[in-house]
């Protein structure tokens, strides 16, 4: 019942859940890097199972861009603007973690409802991890005050989609997977730039206080 990929995807999802329980920017980024690392491992396992050389390149791309560059850049940014601890919005942060566990259970049932492609030996619980990452990312975005937290939540959401693509299909075309990676990198850079600007002009990065344009 438990295969290799399954264990890795579920581990990635558990790291995302643990990430949603911390308000510290550095802890969040560390756990994000761990989570992405396990996604890279899941991708590697798929690459071995399918014997496709292109997937190996994707694995290297994930590790270089998403495991190393992006968390490093964001933690540099967090240091620079002194955004250490997120007070959390709407829900207390520990409770967010418990809600994301419920979402994990929910995604188990959602995954069971998906029509499965039998040709590549994928099982429903692979999709569980992916959907759980997606939902946790969304919850993370909703329950953080810091603009930085929203970027991390977005990255988690994107990780979920990527994992879904890797486990539930035979592998998207190579150029598109690399394009997605590049898009993420550029989006993080631009997002980081704007976070920096927000800190400079508002002297905080609390997005719930950005309401000058409310009608």
């Amino acid at each position: 019942m438990m295969n290799e990929v399954n264990l890795l995807t579920v581990t990635a999802a558990v790291f995302a859940i643990m990430m949603s329980g911390s308000g510290q920017s550095r802890t969040n980024l560390l756990l994000y890097a761990m989570q992405t690392f396990f996604i890279a491992l899941a991708c590697l396992a798929q690459a071995e199972a399918k014997g496709s050389p292109e997937l190996y390149t994707v694995v290297i791309g994930i590790i270089v861009i998403k495991v190393l560059t992006v968390p490093y850049f964001l933690s540099w940014l967090a240091n620079k603007i002194e955004a250490r601890s997120d007070p959390g919005a709407f829900l207390p942060i520990p409770l967010t973690m418990h809600v994301s566990i419920l979402l994990f259970a929910l995604s188990h049932f959602l995954a069971l409802g998906l029509p499965l492609f039998k040709g590549i030996g994928s099982v429903a619980s692979d999709a569980t991890g992916a959907i759980s990452l997606l939902l946790t990312g969304m919850l993370f975005m909703l329950t953080r005050r810091f603009a930085l937290g929203q970027i991390i939540g977005f990255l988690t959401l994107e990780n979920g989609i990527f994992l879904f693509a890797v486990t539930q299909t035979k592998g998207m075309p190579f150029i598109i997977e690399m394009g997605i990676l590049l898009d993420v990198l550029v989006a993080v850079m631009i997002g980081g730039l704007f976070v920096f600007r927000i800190q400079k002009s508002f002297e905080h990065i609390d997005v719930t206080q950005l309401n000058g344009l409310k009608e």
Partner: protein, 312 residues
């Protein structure tokens, strides 16, 4: 109670291991602080010394204060004899999950009211904190055990822990997450860092050590001994969780099982010492955030238990 070889191993370990664990933790902490540290069995010598001392009692305290440590020691001894903290059948069979939890709660109740009975504001304050912490951590602890019980289809601890590897049908993820949940809630229950600093009773920490500040002589000896037994009990269960989850990945020979549990218990001691050396105590307001992680792990473990149960 029949004296089989298994029982003999159990009882011999029970007499040595608690002091060894405490000694190892203290020794490693000393190493990290560039000190030589006390001898490994120093806590045993302390115990002998304390039993030979006179007891000083406050004039306001009643029989509750005097019987508190005795109740907690006897309760702890009972648990140590009936709970399979080594992967062997315990000498006294038939300990249920809920019996375990309730005896622990009973012990805590008596230690709390006996420290209030002493009448010192210092220890009463610590008692109220102890009550709050255990109130927060207990759900995680119980849920982790219940998750194991669900997977094992039994609430008898001897059918969950202490089974030979080939009989063990609990899935890896349940073992692992329960182990994590027990470890995290164990840190709270055993009042270790980062929740409580076991080496001081200063106002900053003021939980376990401050609670027993009025005890002295044989009374204090019993308190320290029951603490050592509690450490043994928790570490034994946590170590088994990790050893069993390891045995799902690599094959362990059956004979090696008790030995590897002992090794993992010592390793847990090292881990605790390292956490205590390298982390700072959380401020009181941050404790719920830490305990939330324990609750999450136990929730995950019960989720896994439900999901796997439905599958198999």
């Amino acid at each position: 109670m029949i004296l089989t070889s298994a029982n003999l191993v159990f009882i011999v370990t029970l007499t040595i291991m608690p002091f060894l664990l405490i000694g190892v933790i203290k020794k490693i902490k000393a190493c990290f602080q560039n000190r030589v540290g006390p001898p490994v069995f120093q806590s045993l010598y302390n115990l002998v010394k304390l039993f030979n001392k006179d007891e000083i009692l406050s004039k306001d305290c009643s029989w509750i204060f005097r019987s508190g440590p005795l109740i907690s020691f006897s309760g702890m001894l009972l648990l140590c004899l009936s709970v399979p903290w080594l992967p062997l059948q315990p000498p006294v069979p038939g300990c249920d999950i809920f019996l375990f939890v309730y005896v622990l709660a009973l012990i805590r109740f008596f230690s709390i009211i006996s420290s209030i009975d002493a009448g010192s504001p210092f220890s009463s304050f610590a008692a109220s904190r102890e009550a709050t912490l255990s109130f927060l951590a207990e759900p995680a602890f119980v849920l982790a055990l219940v998750a194991l019980g669900i997977s094992a289809h039994s609430s008898d601890l001897a059918l969950i822990f202490g089974q030979p590897i080939e009989n063990n049908r609990i899935p890896l993820s349940v073992w692992f997450f329960s182990g994590l949940a027990l470890f995290l809630s164990g840190i709270v229950e055993l009042s270790r860092m980062p929740i409580d600093d076991p080496s001081t009773h200063l106002e900053l920490t003021m939980v376990h050590e401050a609670m027993v500040i009025e005890n002295s002589g044989p009374n204090l000896a019993l308190v320290e001994w029951s603490y050592a037994l509690k450490l043994l009990l928790f570490f034994g269960l946590i170590a088994q969780c990790f050893v069993y989850s390891l045995s799902k990945i690599i094959a362990l020979p059956p004979l090696l099982l008790p030995l590897s549990v002992l090794v993992v218990m010592l390793a847990l001691g090292c881990l605790t010492a390292m956490i205590e050396s390298f982390s700072v105590k959380l401020s009181w307001g941050k404790n719920p955030d830490f305990i939330a992680y324990a609750v999450s792990m136990s929730l995950l473990s019960s989720l896994a238990a439900f999901a796997m149960n439905g599958g198999s």
